[in-house]
């Protein structure tokens, strides 16, 4: 279980996150929605240890994450598919995927996990020897998610997985997210596409200029007129 309590993050004088509290229960799919610049990505990156909060605590199964380095957080079962995909363009698809498993101790099981990723995204199997930079945007997104899955995470952080994709691919990605949830993966999903996110999520938080302004079951939020107006274009 991931618990953020009153987390503040700042870049110099710019305060990006001003007191975010949220939690993700095991097996849950929680969405974090909000407009551009609301602090969603900063929140995820802080969970992954890329930023240190000025204030507040982040605990995962009782362990304080705020003092850990990013690789130690990955070692505790939290992996992230970052915003903008951030795949390694000069490395092959296989190398990208294997890097996702860098912290894994059970090297023998990696073959199975590779198969699982190829099962989710068959196109990656065809591209296995190609360098990541030659993939299309959608394929890169699949690679980014597949790479994060190679860590066999207990908690998966997905940052804007549908950003910049064609509608058909957006649907593909959300199908995969739903399937991962069905398989029991705990997911914290950051999305600008609030409608889609609220469709698949159990619960959701709405972030506005660094603060949580609303939270609740995803279905309720989707029906909330305020959310409808601000985020669902209704």
């Amino acid at each position: 279980m991931l618990i953020l309590e009153d987390v503040h993050v700042a870049y110099g004088a710019i305060r990006a996150v001003k007191g975010v509290s949220l939690e993700v229960q095991d097996g849950e799919l929680v969405a974090l929605v909000g407009s551009n610049g609301a602090g969603k990505t900063t929140t995820l990156r802080t969970v992954s240890g890329l930023f240190r909060p000025r204030l507040g605590s982040i605990r995962y199964d009782g362990t304080d994450l705020t003092t850990l380095a990013p690789h130690e957080i990955v070692a505790r079962g939290i992996s992230q598919s970052p915003e903008g995909r951030q795949i390694f363009g000069s490395l092959t698809v296989r190398e990208n995927l294997m890097l996702g498993a860098v912290r894994r101790k059970d090297r023998a099981a990696l073959g199975d996990d590779l198969d699982r990723v190829f099962d989710l995204f068959p196109v990656l199997k065809e591209r296995i020897g190609q360098s990541g930079g030659t993939l299309s945007g959608g394929e890169q997104q699949m690679l980014a998610i597949g790479r994060a899955l190679m860590a066999r995470p207990r908690l998966l952080l997905l940052d804007e997985p549908s950003l910049g994709l064609a509608p058909l691919l957006v649907q593909r990605i959300f199908d995969v997210v739903a399937r991962l949830k069905a398989e029991g993966v705990t997911i914290l999903l950051v999305e600008q596409n609030a409608r889609k996110a609220l469709e698949v999520a159990d619960r959701a938080y709405v972030l506005e200029t660094g603060r949580i302004v609303l939270h609740g079951p995803a279905r309720e939020l989707a029906a909330n007129p305020e959310v409808e107006r601000a985020y669902l274009g209704g």
Binding site: S48, G49, L50, A69, P70, H71, V74, A75, S79, Q80, P82, Q86, I87, F88, G89, S90, L91, E95, M98, L99, G100, V102, R103, R147, A151
Partner: protein, 298 residues
């Protein structure tokens, strides 16, 4: 220039380029990961040569001495990283750059203090000092032959390392995108330490080869090779290891043939030509020949 002379110059250029390449690989590796131009890399080279000089007094076989000297440079590189660069990590690029200038000056002066500024004769084994006749009037020195051989072997080994091992792949990934590498769970500190180990070992080897090439060593000897290697990395593309190697050979050949063809009066301007070329490359193609990422530009 007849064929024999050309062949000699060619091998000479290949040999000079090989030394530059060994130095440039370390620079490019460290730059790729830390965004640090490690000026003190030249001092690692110098200390490798001096370690060889002092260990040679023991009378052990040269190969053993060389290995010990390279181990010494690895330790120096590790200490450098730990003491000077790790605490400064996260500081802006300029602060890191200046820190490395400080390390470089400190080591140079320490070496002057410890070894005196007087050049010393490098204990090149007699075996490799001999000339090898390749026929067709091409005579090359054993030193050049060994230099090229050692450099190529090391580069082949490095290629295997960065493509076949997890640490090697992690290093390439980190050089490309530090943040993403961290999100994968790559321990950046391990990668940086590995870069210093490999870079320092190569610089140590380069120091020995440079000592054998020039015949004498002195505390400021690291400065010029590191500057040239630096130019090579810029020509090839900052942070790109294949680029650095390519740049190093271009520079090695360029320098040798420049000297061969320039009128005598101008050969002493060699370094000026090299750096003019550097500035031109920066202006025309700032990302270098093989560099892919655009540098900050306005």
């Amino acid at each position: 220039m007849n064929f024999g002379q050309f062949g000699q110059q060619f091998v000479n250029g290949l040999s000079l380029g090989s030394i530059y390449a060994l130095v440039a690989i370390g620079l490019a590796m460290i730059f790729g990961i830390l965004r640090l131009i490690n000026f003190a890399h030249g001092e690692v080279l110098m200390l490798g040569a001096f370690a060889t000089y002092f260990y040679a007094r023991s009378g052990l076989p040269f190969l053993v001495i060389a290995v010990l000297a390279v181990l010494t440079t690895v330790v120096i590189g590790l200490v450098m990283e730990r003491v000077a660069y790790r605490p400064a990590r996260g500081a802006p690029d300029v602060a890191l750059l200046l820190t490395s200038l400080g390390v470089s000056i400190a080591l140079q002066n320490a070496a002057v203090l410890a070894f005196s500024a007087q050049p010393k004769k490098f204990p090149t084994p007699r075996l490799i000092e001999q000339q090898v006749d390749l026929g067709a009037g091409v005579q090359i020195s054993g030193t050049n032959l060994v230099t090229v051989g050692v450099a190529l072997a090391l580069m082949a080994g490095l290629t295997l390392f960065v493509t076949r091992t997890q640490l090697g792949v992690s290093m390439r990934a980190t050089a490309e995108n530090v943040t993403a590498a961290q999100l994968m769970g790559i321990n950046i500190t391990t990668v940086i330490v590995a870069a210093f180990v490999i870079g320092s070992a190569m610089a140590g080897v380069a120091g020995i080869l440079w000592g054998a090439r020039v015949g004498r060593i002195e505390p400021l000897m690291g400065f010029i090779p590191v500057l040239k290697a630096f130019v090579a990395t810029v020509i090839g593309g900052f942070g790109s290891i294949p680029g650095a190697v390519l740049g190093a050979y271009i520079l090695g050949f360029g320098e040798i043939f420049l000297v061969a063809w320039l009128p005598d009066a101008l050969t002493s301007y060699r370094d000026a030509f090299v750096f003019t070329a550097l500035i031109l490359v920066l202006l025309v193609r700032p990302q270098g020949i093989l560099g892919s990422t655009e540098p900050e530009k306005i």
